[in-house]
Symmetry: C2
Subunit: 135 residues, 2 copies
C-alpha cells in the first residue's frame, strides 16, 4: 500500500533513458533491453505516454520515441495521471459522495482529503529530472 506501480517506476526509468539519448529516436525494444524491463509491458506504457502527450512517436522502421517535453517539466503527478486513472488514497476522495454506506456520518472524509492534498503536493513538486542521483 502507498506504493508506486511498476508502470510508474518503469516510466520514470524510460523517460530518463530517453532524455539521456535525446539526440535519436529510441525504440521500445532498445529501452527495454537496456533497462531490463519487460518489452511488451513497457511498449504499452510508452504508447500511453505518447497518447497523453509526454512522448512523440515515429512509426515504421527507424521509428521510436522522443520526449515531447523536458523531463524537468514533467512532474510525478503528471506521470501518474497519465498512467493511472486515479491517485486517490481513499475511494471517496474522487468526489463520489455515495462511495460508502456511511457517507453522511463519515467524520474522516475531509481530513483524509487534506492528507491527499499533502501527498499530491509532493508529487506535484517532484519532476522526473529530480528523481535522479548525483544532480
Amino acid at each position: 500500500m502507498i506504493k508506486l506501480s511498476k508502470k510508474v517506476e518503469y516510466a520514470i526509468l524510460a523517460l530518463q533513458y530517453i532524455a539521456e539519448n535525446s539526440s535519436k529516436t529510441n525504440t521500445a525494444k532498445e529501452i527495454a533491453e537496456n533497462l531490463t524491463l519487460p518489452y511488451e509491458f513497457l511498449s504499452k506504457l510508452l504508447q500511453t505516454l505518447m497518447k497523453k502527450g509526454l512522448l512523440v512517436s515515429q512509426l515504421g522502421v527507424k521509428g521510436g520515441y522522443k520526449l515531447a517535453k523536458q523531463i524537468s517539466e514533467i512532474t510525478v503527478e503528471e506521470l501518474m495521471n497519465a498512467l493511472d486513472e486515479r491517485s486517490n488514497i481513499v475511494d471517496c476522495a474522487d468526489g463520489d459522495s455515495n462511495c460508502c454506506s456511511r457517507t453522511e456520518i463519515c467524520d474522516i472524509r475531509s481530513p483524509i482529503m487534506n492528507l491527499q492534498e499533502q501527498i499530491n503536493n509532493i508529487f506535484k513538486n517532484t519532476t522526473i529530472a529530480n528523481l535522479k542521483n548525483n544532480l
Copy 2:
C-alpha cells in the same frame, strides 16, 4: 495506487469510535454494526491492533476493546506499520539491495527514497485524532 487500504481506513474509524466510547469496553460486533463495517474483517484487524499495543482487549462475556493510548498519540504511520508489513512506495525501498536486476545502475533509488521520506513525514505528523472533522 497510492491509496490507503481498507484495513487502515476501517482502523481509523474504529479507533475514533472506541475513543468516543472510552468509558466502556467495545465489542467488535458493536463497532462493526455502528460503523457498517464487515464484522469478521474488522475483528481480525482489532486483534492485530491489540497485538501491536494500540488496543487492550478483554476476553469472554463483557469482553471487548479499549484504547491502550490516546488517539492523539497514535500517528497514521504507527497505524500503517501495525497493520501492514511495509509502506514502501517501491520494493527496493526496504533495504533489499538485490530487489531488481538493475540495482547497480539504478539511478532512481536514492531520490525515490527521498520521496518516500517526505510521504512518511506526512503520516508521521498526522494522528488519528487529527483525522476528524470539526476539531
